[in-house]
């Protein structure tokens, strides 16, 4: 059967099980959009391609299904670069199709031409330039396979106009992929697993430190099993949240720059770090020369390049986190040890840290709203719905990580590696498209929200009832906090006093707008927002200069953590002071 490239493309998407795509049309991809009309594909027209990519990330993170976006050439394609980089850093399985000018004029500065394969080379896991119409089924198949297997990541397929308009014999969608240079390892090396089990069995002050790999591998059950067998206190990175239920008795809270005091002190004092699927980001390790100085480290990761990239590792295990955990748990079950009584002293020390240095804030009755309080209240009101929560980037993101204590995996969607402001709302939109009936909440910042808020209209158009809570401090709060603490309170370009009326903005975009101004409003307004059908924007007017603690200043050792607003050591001041 001779078909056009666009028909082959659509049939391939269908065979791949793609039902929902996010995108934006334009000249070079017009033919594809024309053919799309004849296929039962749900297309969500985002008003900006960056939004489409973050939406696809949210769709993937919430559902575990590879997300798909289609955009046009030139500006359409270059608008995806931030999203692709975000997806690469946070291991999001997404496939992006970009239109391209006809092959005959490629390289000639044609209208809306950009060297997309070149531009995205370093922000994709892999990219393809289709040069023959008959290659399309294979390329689409490989694109999805590469995106979701191994360490997940973004894949881009550049589709020149003549390739999608040309015709070729369609021999069906390939059933198998074989890429000779790509064979992600899956099982862990049994010898290494045994070594890891022996170390775990003899550790006196062990800590389990889980990362995003647990979520990507859908391994939270196996991870929880590891915690239960060994009775070892456990912390998670920002990307790993949801990997262990926050009501688990061994839960230490998040670690890292704004993690809990106890979790961070465990990292300093431990004799064995059991790292499951993290990548030792600098927001977690602090000053590298001090990190894990007295500890042995076991590191499980699907990506060999993550292992020993930043820190010394004693027992590296390359493999799929889920499979490795199954192997490791089997090994650990054979060990005869009274885990709890052996760790009694360690538990006592940790309890001491927790007692002396809990997460805390002070909300006055009927006073200005503390963002921490608003988020904790949001958690209390919505916990029973087990909602999907996304965030922007900044203080509110860290408070959400601290106080929105999700119980389950794939409920927490945040931009970790790249820290992309404007991510939260589109990610919520995408998650809602994956789960139309689920409660989806975006905890956003006033600065972050303003980066992508034009797509409120998209929520209204497609009836995506996301609930957006803006922690509105009228500041680029996190930057302001750094200026306060490390630059002698010289505030430079962080004031957002002049801003849209978010309630009216919501209404102008076909959504409902609500506002909370005093602490007493918080609970009733949250309840109202949750029970209102359709998309809702809640402007939570917060205390302006609240700071986010604990905090490990960038580049400092973990042990130099600032618990709660104690004076900053003089040596950390920068700038003119």
């Amino acid at each position: 059967m001779r078909l056009t490239g666009s028909e082959i493309f659509m049939k391939s998407l269908q065979a791949e099980g793609v039902h929902t795509v996010f995108g934006h049309p334009g000249g070079a991809i017009l033919h594809g959009y024309d053919v799309m009309l004849d296929f039962p594909l749900r297309h969500i027209l985002c008003r900006h391609e960056q939004v489409a990519i973050h939406a696809v990330e949210g769709y993937y993170k919430a559902s575990g299904k590879t997300g798909t976006a289609i955009v046009t050439s030139g500006p359409g394609a270059t608008n995806t670069v931030t999203g692709l980089t975000d997806a690469l850093m946070d291991s999001m399985a997404i496939v992006v199709f970009t239109g391209q000018v006809p092959t005959a004029v490629m390289g000639c500065d044609a209208f809306q031409e950009a060297d997309v394969v070149g531009t995205t080379r370093t922000c994709t896991k892999h990219n393809f330039l289709a040069l023959k119409t008959e290659d399309l089924p294979r390329i689409v198949k490989e694109a999805y396979y590469i995106a979701r297997s191994g360490r997940p990541g973004p894949v881009l397929v550049d589709l020149p106009k003549d390739i999608i308009m040309g015709r070729a014999e369609f021999k069906g969608y390939p059933e198998e992929v074989s890429i000779r240079g790509y064979n992600p390892s899956v099982n862990g090396h049994p010898g290494q697993i045994r070594k890891a089990a022996e170390l775990i069995a003899s550790a006196q002050r062990p800590v389990i430190y889980g990362g995003g790999g647990i979520i990507h591998a859908d391994a939270s059950a196996e991870f929880t099993e590891l915690v239960n067998i060994t009775q070892i206190p456990t912390t998670l990175t920002l990307m790993g949240l949801g990997g262990l239920d926050t009501s688990h008795p061994l839960w230490l809270g998040m670690l890292g720059m704004h993690g809990t005091y106890a979790a961070n002190m465990c990292m300093v004092n431990t004799d064995l770090m059991i790292a499951i699927g993290p990548r030792f980001d600098d927001r977690v390790t602090g000053k590298l020369s001090e990190f894990g100085k007295n500890a042995k480290i076991i590191h499980v990761d699907i990506d060999p390049t993550s292992i020993r990239k930043n820190v010394h590792v004693d027992v590296p295990i390359v493999g799929d986190v889920k499979r490795v955990l199954i192997q490791l748990n089997a090994e650990l079950r054979k060990i005869k040890r009274d885990w709890r009584s052996d760790l009694e002293e360690w538990y006592g020390q940790i309890a001491e840290w927790q007692r002396a240095h809990p997460l805390r804030y002070h909300q006055t009755a009927e006073g200005a709203i503390k963002p921490q309080y608003a988020i904790e209240e949001l958690f209390r009101v919505t916990e029973e719905h087990d909602p999907i929560v996304s965030t922007g980037v900044g203080q509110h993101q860290m408070w959400a990580a601290q106080y929105y204590r999700s119980h389950n995996p794939r409920r927490w969607i945040t931009s970790g590696g790249l820290g992309t402001m404007g991510f939260g709302f589109p990610a919520a939109l995408g998650a809602q498209a994956a789960f139309p009936d689920k409660l989806v909440i975006d905890i956003d910042g006033d600065g972050s929200f303003q980066m992508t808020m034009q797509d409120l209209i998209t929520c209204a158009q497609y009836d995506l009832p996301v609930k957006i809570f803006i922690m509105n401090n009228r500041y680029l709060g996190m930057v302001r906090q750094w200026q306060e603490l490390f630059y002698g309170r010289r505030y430079s370009q962080v004031d957002l006093e002049v801003q849209p009326d978010f309630v009216k903005l919501a209404e102008a975009c076909g959504c409902v707008g609500l506002r909370a101004e005093r602490s007493g409003d918080v609970k009733p307004i949250i309840e109202k927002a949750i029970s209102t059908p359709g998309p809702v924007v809640v402007d939570v007017v917060c205390e302006r200069e609240e700071n986010c603690f604990p905090m490990i200043p960038a580049g400092s050792a973990i042990k130099d953590i600032i618990d709660h607003g104690e004076p900053i050591p003089e040596k950390l001041f920068q700038g003119w002071r």
Partner: protein, 187 residues
């Protein structure tokens, strides 16, 4: 950190897909990570869908581990072998255009002969030599010719092949891939 000049030189042999864009992927990885590449040579193998790249890289053990892993991460890279500590033969070829004043010609010819080179071009004032050998030999001949006035050199970069009957092309590809993975895990 040790001075990069003292890093050991490693010879890597890469098998890569022979299609458009692959060299650019390798080059941008090298640029992005700031690796120290001394030379790179690329050509087709017996299987025309596969190219071989031979690369000389300097780095300590940690850097080399990263380099090899990062290359493996590129989907179009089929295999990476570090030949440095394996028995192997390596050669480089160089063209040298050197001033050849009549009084010096006999000496230049003698040097060429000792190094089993050839004169491939002659002008009234210059000779162009072709020499093949290990990098050490190339360096030695260059040093000897320096006093006469070397005008230009063109070097091929190192080519290397493992000794023995073992091949690192397609046939036992899976076997080797397993071996290199095992090594990666054991490390």
């Amino acid at each position: 950190m040790t001075d990069p000049k003292h890093y050991r030189k490693h010879t890597l042999s890469l098998l890569v897909e022979n299609h458009q864009g692959v060299l650019a992927k390798i080059a941008s990885l090298i640029a992005a990570k700031g690796y120290n590449i001394d030379s790179l040579s690329v050509a087709e193998t017996l299987d025309e869908s596969i190219s071989r790249m031979t690369m000389s890289v300097r780095g300590d053990e940690w850097v080399m581990e990263q380099v090899v892993k990062q290359f493996h991460r590129i989907i179009d890279v089929i295999k990476v072998v570090d030949l440095t500590d394996e028995p192997h033969v390596n050669r480089e070829m160089i063209f040298i255009r050197v001033n050849a004043e009549p009084a010096n010609r006999a000496e230049i010819l003698r040097i060429t002969e000792i190094f089993r080179g050839r004169i491939v071009d002659v002008t009234p004032m210059t000779y162009t030599l072709e020499i093949t050998g290990e990098s050490g030999k190339i360096e030695a001949v260059l040093e000897l010719l320096q006093p006469f006035g070397v005008q230009e050199i063109v070097r091929s970069g190192t080519l290397a092949i493992a000794r023995g009957s073992k091949t690192i092309t397609k046939r036992d590809e899976t076997k080797l891939r397993l071996a290199s993975r095992k090594q990666a895990v054991a490390e």
